[in-house]
Amino acid sequence: MSDCRPEELLAATLADQIPDVRHIAVGAASPIPAAAALLKQARARDRVHVTILHSRRYNSFTDGGRELFDAAAQGRIDVFFLGGVQIDGEANINLVGLGDYPNLTQRFPGCFGAPYMAFVVPNVILFREEHSTRTLVKKVDFVSAPGWSPEGVWRRGGPKALVTGLAVMPFDASRRRFRLASVHPGHTAEDVREATGFDFDMPASVPTTPVPDLSTLGLLRGPIADKLREFYPDFADRVFPVPA
């Protein structure tokens, strides 16, 4: 681990959550998911299309702002990443604010496309670096996008897993519950329990999240860092500094 930066571990771990698919899309301001999508693409046997909204090179939409959502509705986007100021134990996410809406004590930007993408994209991966009882709560103050839907409500997809700075937690929508699948190196399952505001399934033995191997690190630090430099120059320079 000494040789692996946290962002590299997270990108590789996110990439491991991505099934074999045709099209991975990454929303705004998401450098680590972008790195994960490009890593998945680089390691895939078949052709994988990656859309990174922040990029010019990785964004071939030509039908206006609605095209991301229409393409997702058509089933053409297999994987999307969502964050949350708060995420709760039923995989509901809050992007709006803290307090009793509309009487908020803190205001965040807003829902963006989350209430829609969480329904139409088969594999939604939740990603939030900060793993604390402040971010992972029993019940979100505002449900921007629900983690599950009652029977009879049309829903193609939804959250499949949550990746944080501490752990990997798959989500079972039928049981409305997360499970601790692995803990990142340097932390324990007990650390995760203490830092999590909701209940989740904890197996008797929890493995350590594998660190990226040399070949993965080579991809991240080489071709993927070069690609990220186009649209996330600050991130790329910080995480993948060009050797002097």
Partner: protein
Amino acid sequence: MSSTFSPIPLDDLVAQVRDGMLLAVPADYSGAPMAATRALIRRGAKNLRLVTVPQSTLQADILIGAGCVSEIETAAVTLGEFGTAPCFTRAVLAKKIKVVDATCPAIHAGFQASEKDVPFLPLRGILGSDLLKHRSDWKTVDNPMASGNDPLLLIPAIRPDVALFHAPMADREGNIWIGRRRELATIAHASKTTLVTVERLYDGSFFDDEKMAAGALPAFYVNAVAVAERGAAPVGLFGEYEADIDHLRAYAKEARTEAGFAAYLAREIGAAKAAA
């Protein structure tokens, strides 16, 4: 449009955005009309109801900070990598503006409904979001095309009084080149009046070249055009220039306080903050 087209001065253009109007503006990736926004602030616009298509960054924040906005329908206001939008956040928490929270595809659908002059468009997803608790104008119905229980959301048409955006070029007939930023066409189609600022005039007609025509918005949707060089700055303009990162970073810091924002307003826009 015939050869009688000619651009008008920027101040005359923004004079057509009258107090209280429902004003549509694009996201920062598709031609934020920043020069026009500064002119709007200088003329002391009031009680604008803003609808962002679907989100906004600096533009909404300074309009709100300057006291021009009473209400905003939006999927998000943020400064992106530079953090939350300080004036927006402050105004919401102080209840100085009303926020009508939405989500990107619902805003797009509302504009498409208006484009077709139908009362609504149906949309999948979203059901179960707390957005619905606060959107009495959104309606959940049983899908009338299905036999069983199939709840479906209907999004009402959004019909702005005026759309305002910045684009690279207008040609000599008044057609606007929007490239692949096609939400600008939808915004224009859906709005009663469309006002456009452009970087420059194009000598000829886009329709003389099918390659240019593919990115054109026909003149008959456009009510007035003003030339405003670097009219999107410090936000970027597609295919033309990048955002001024230093400006935005400095803004995010300075506007964190009321006093800082007032200083920004005076220095960058030449406007005093309107009385609250």
